[in-house]
């Protein structure tokens, strides 16, 4: 298309925008993402992980457009109930709105994409609310006007039904928000898995996303849950049978990336130390929610603050900064494992409580993560036109593990004695069962 701008990208080759879309790209809230690392401090253990939210957001926009074109192509609408869901009279409007929502979906991220935002923002605020604030800002309004899109539609699709509470989602809007952040096939996840694995140098995050996207379809989840009644006609994203193996590969890639990269214990403890630093460094221990203030603070300003505090022994955040800058992070004492889980489901918590009693609150940290998004059960259109559950067709999907980690960390100073202490007391601590029902 004439006047299209092409941006080279290592994952998608070219990302294309038309001139009116470039105005969104050039806006201050979007340019800020050039200075927000996609994976926070992960570059301290995977040196290649220096990529930013900026290129990820471009990738999400590119993929959202590709998926939209596939699922709305009339030759790909294979079920009668879906035909009424797609508003073909507004097909260009919704394509543009979806691409802009995808581009803007991460605008509100705090510096270092910080996951502990509940501690670093006032009550009631999270990065999704900040994202909506940027989309609705006076700065962005003329851009939406020139694009002829309703900013509320952009905000709605950008943050999805979990965070946009003002109005309920129509079936069509639910599908569009699923294209961005859906549990199984959201392009946000497709892009970050591919991009993160590329930068980290871990091949297990890759999968055949070309094949997967070509086979995505809007399908009703019509398989049944009782003998008496037919299944649901509510539409969702599914795949044609030919894409099932690519879907399996995506969900396995997610498992490997979460278990080996995103939940790597050193990455997790750096996140905790960074949160401690930010609470000591920020005025009042929290980020401002004012858009103008947020535009002024990125990873660059925080990194500068970290370095200054690490050099200044009198700085109130000095200890926390040194743990990051000097790599004096807490070391892993214990992690959840199946053998101990068989004895006591709360073995990690027991070890943490006992270690804290023994070494003191300031020397021990606990971290826990459970996978939130399942996404293993999606409709599959098979060759004879039946729609089946992915789980009834794929033994692989039925066996994809879910990520569950618990870590107990101790300070560098306590490490040796803590290792000896745990070796001597581990069995007894894990066997102890307190009253959980108080």
């Amino acid at each position: 298309m004439a006047n299209q701008k092409e941006i080279r990208d290592p994952i998608h080759n070219f990302i294309r925008l038309d001139p009116s879309e470039i105005k969104a790209l050039d806006s201050a809230p979007f340019q800020r993402l050039r200075n927000i690392h996609q994976l926070a401090l992960t570059y301290l253990l995977y040196p290649g992980a220096t990529h930013r939210r900026f290129e990820h957001s471009l990738g999400v926009m590119e993929l959202a457009g590709r998926v939209y074109d596939v699922v709305t192509d009339q030759s790909n609408v294979k079920h009668d109930s879906v035909k009424d869901v797609i508003p073909y009279d507004l097909i260009k409007y919704w394509r543009r709105t979806l691409r802009m929502a995808a581009l803007c979906h991460d605008l509100g991220h705090l510096p270092f994409s910080h996951a502990a935002e509940s501690h670093l923002l006032p009550d009631g605020w999270d990065h999704e609310r900040l994202t909506m604030q940027f989309i609705r800002s006076d700065e962005m309004k003329p851009i939406w006007d020139s694009l002829k899109v309703n900013p509320e539609d952009v905000a709605k699709l950008a943050v999805g039904p979990e965070h946009y509470k003002e109005r309920s989602f129509s079936d069509w809007e639910a599908i569009l928000s699923e294209i961005i952040a859906g549990g199984a096939f959201g392009v946000d996840r497709i892009d970050y898995l591919l991009r993160d694995s590329y930068h980290i140098g871990a091949a297990y995050g890759r999968f055949d996303h070309y094949r997967l996207i070509d086979t995505l379809r809007i399908l009703p989840r019509e398989y049944r849950s009782s003998e008496q009644e037919p299944g649901s006609l509510e539409p969702t994203l599914g795949v044609e049978e030919g894409g099932l193996h690519s879907a399996e590969a995506l969900l396995l890639a997610r498992y490997f990336m979460f278990s080996q990269v995103y939940c790597h214990h050193v990455r997790r403890i750096y996140d905790i130390h960074l949160m401690d630093f930010l609470q000591a460094w920020l005025p009042g221990g929290q980020f401002s929610t004012c858009a103008e203030d947020l535009l002024m603070i990125t990873d660059n300003e925080v990194t500068s603050g970290l370095l200054a505090a690490a050099r200044d022994v009198s700085h109130p955040a000095h200890v926390h900064a040194r743990r990051v800058v000097g790599r004096e992070h807490f070391r892993l004492l214990y992690q959840r494992n199946p053998v101990d889980q068989d004895t006591n489901l709360r073995s990690s918590q027991r070890i943490f409580d006992a270690a804290r009693d023994r070494f003191g609150d300031s020397e021990v940290r606990y971290d826990s993560y459970r996978q939130k998004s399942g996404g293993l059960d999606f409709p599959v259109l098979v060759k004879d036109k039946r729609i089946m559950s992915s789980l009834s067709l794929s033994d692989t999907l039925a066996r994809v593990p879910l990520v569950a980690v618990d870590y107990v960390f101790v300070s560098l100073g306590c490490r040796k004695k803590a290792d000896i202490w745990l070796k001597e007391n581990r069995k007894e601590i894990i066997a102890s069962k307190g009253d959980e029902d108080e």
């Binding site: 009782s226 649901s232 998004s373």
Partner: protein, 184 residues
């Protein structure tokens, strides 16, 4: 306020009871049963329900169900075509419940009531009934008759089906009155 582990025990107990009452117990069944337990009977699960998939839906609850599967307390049970998967407690999940006798005793009547009312329902029935309860509990006095609101929110539900669902919800609300837990 319940601790997270106590809330997990209530959820697991609800799933166990639903399965015992013959429920297919896919995620939609658990979502709607938890909605009735919280919104109708006042069990303080503190999930944030919005009107979304098949009626009232909580993302928090969906994440919690996945987390319980990650902890091997719940598991998928796959079924051959034309059926979808069920979610059932594991042996570890059943053992987990042994640690929470006080919590389970406190909410046993409410769990039993919900499982008894919803245990034999399919997804379509649950969607209609839970949406009718949602509309009933969120009336703003300006939206018109409840049965007329439901097809506006869920176009695949007919007015006749909505009317039946509203009447059934009124019956259930009457039966549940003595079981409701006061939040004050």
């Amino acid at each position: 306020m319940m601790k997270k582990s106590q809330r997990d025990a209530v959820l697991l107990s609800l799933v166990r009871e639903m399965v015992a009452r013959g429920s297919w117990c896919g995620e939609t069944h658990i979502q709607k049963a938890a909605y009735f337990l919280q919104a109708l009977l006042g069990v303080p699960l503190e999930f944030d329900f919005i009107l979304y998939k098949h009626g009232p839906f909580s993302f928090d609850l969906s994440y919690e169900i996945t987390a319980l599967r990650a902890d091997a307390l719940l598991r998928y049970q796959t079924r051959p075509y034309p059926y979808g998967p069920s979610i059932v407690p594991t042996d570890e999940g059943r053992s987990f419940l042994d640690s929470y006798p006080k919590t389970l005793k406190r909410y046993a009547d409410q769990i039993s009531f919900v499982a008894g009312k919803l245990g034999n329902m399919g997804v379509a029935d649950l969607e209609r009934l839970a949406t009718a309860l949602y509309v009933t509990l969120n009336q703003d006095g300006q939206s018109g008759p409840r049965a007329e609101q439901i097809p506006l929110l869920k176009p695949h539900i007919s007015l006749e089906e909505a009317d039946l669902a509203v009447r059934r919800v009124d019956e259930i609300m009457g039966e549940a009155r003595d079981l409701r837990i006061s939040t004050s």
